[in-house]
């Protein structure tokens, strides 16, 4: 458990350092994610017991953290409710834009992706 937490923290730390050093707009944790993913791919076929054991441990810890992903948004979400006055007299307009644009974006993106995937499947079957 401790080893996997150390590794996850370490990758975030490296990610944050890279972000600060190169002044990137991509957040440090996302860079950490990419680096961890690359490391996992590079060690894919390793038979080293230490590495495979560590990977198993990281999987268990990651599943635990991701299982409670929703909880992690509560503290910042409370801030949103407490600072709603920032929206001044634009509540309805702002909520309206968020509602329509978000729902339409979800519908558009999913439909587009499904259509492309189906095209590929048809193509593959023809071959």
């Amino acid at each position: 458990m401790l080893k996997s937490i150390f590794i996850i923290f370490l990758f975030q730390l490296i990610g944050e350092s890279i972000q600060k050093y190169f002044e990137l707009t991509i957040p440090g944790p996302v860079i950490g994610l990419i680096l961890l993913l690359i490391s996992l791919i590079l060690t894919k076929s390793t038979k080293n017991i230490f590495i495979t054991k560590t990977k198993e441990e990281i999987t268990t810890t990651s599943n635990f953290i991701i299982g409670y992903l929703s909880l992690l948004f509560v503290p910042i979400g409370v801030g949103v409710v407490m600072h709603l006055s920032y929206l001044e007299n634009n509540y309805i307009e702002v909520l309206g834009v968020i509602f329509f644009s978000t729902v339409l974006t979800i519908g558009f993106t999913a439909l587009l992706m499904e259509i492309i995937n189906n095209q590929f499947k048809k193509h593959a079957r023809k071959k």
């Binding site: 957040p27 409370v78 407490m82 499904e114």
Partner: protein, 242 residues
């Protein structure tokens, strides 16, 4: 009288310490999660929204400032970073599926991100919102830290962007399912990808709770759209005069 005084002393001590706020946050979330599961994962019974409202009403009722609360609850907030890194694991596990759908992922990513940006601009113009608010809204579909960075870059107000971004996540997680059911999208990779692209982490959490494949594609879209949008918006501002 003495008893009441003692209780007050305990309260004064507790509300200054993280333990109380951590317990409250986890407790509120367990209530939200219980109701969510009890409703058979009804998207309108969003566990994040319920726990946020519970904690906020307690803060308002007791007159505790958000800053004091956050000072205690920040340990939970802190885990957002490690949780993002941890998303590498489910993505890695499904890498064969991602390789198979590389083309559709790439096209949906670009088209979806552009759709999110332009539809926001279009509806905000329609509502005659101030240009400062419009700029603050444009990056709202990506994860809060990226959205705030972009907002600052293009002349928006980062704190306003944070509020709008979180609201976007809750709206997407609560209403996205209905849109996909009406459109009869069955492909779990497409459903998940759309959730992550349009409503970042909160949408991803919702997708994860419903279906593993959808959750993984949501996580993938969350990371990819963050990168894509932080390139697209500054580029658009150079090309077009908004």
């Amino acid at each position: 009288m003495l008893e009441k005084n003692k209780l007050y002393t305990i309260w004064v001590y507790l509300q200054a310490e993280p333990l109380f706020w951590l317990t409250l946050t986890i407790g509120a979330f367990l209530v939200g999660d219980y109701l969510y599961k009890k409703s058979k994962l009804n998207p309108l019974v969003n566990p994040v929204a319920i726990s946020i409202l519970l904690v906020a009403s307690i803060l308002i009722a007791t007159g505790i400032s958000y800053e004091r609360y956050f000072n205690g609850a920040k340990f939970i907030h802190f885990m957002l970073g490690p949780a993002t890194v941890a998303l590498a694991i489910p993505i890695y596990k499904q890498i064969h599926l991602i390789k198979k759908e590389t083309t559709s992922i790439f096209i949906s990513l670009i088209a979806g991100s552009l759709f999110a940006i332009f539809s926001t601009y279009f509806f905000a113009k329609l509502m005659k919102l101030d240009i400062e608010i419009i700029y603050s809204m444009m990056p709202r579909s990506v994860t809060a830290p990226i959205a705030m960075g972009i907002s600052e870059l293009i002349g928006g107000v980062p704190s306003l962007t944070a509020i709008i971004t979180i609201l976007t996540g809750i709206v997407g997680a609560s209403f996205g399912t209905f849109a996909l059911d009406i459109l009869r999208v069955k492909d779990m990779t497409a459903r998940g990808f759309a959730f992550g692209l349009a409503s970042h982490g909160i949408g991803t959490a919702r997708a994860m709770s419903r279906n593993e494949t959808a959750g993984i594609f949501a996580a993938l879209a969350l990371g990819l759209s963050g990168v894509a949008t932080s390139i697209i918006i500054p580029l658009l501002f150079k090309l077009i005069n908004f």
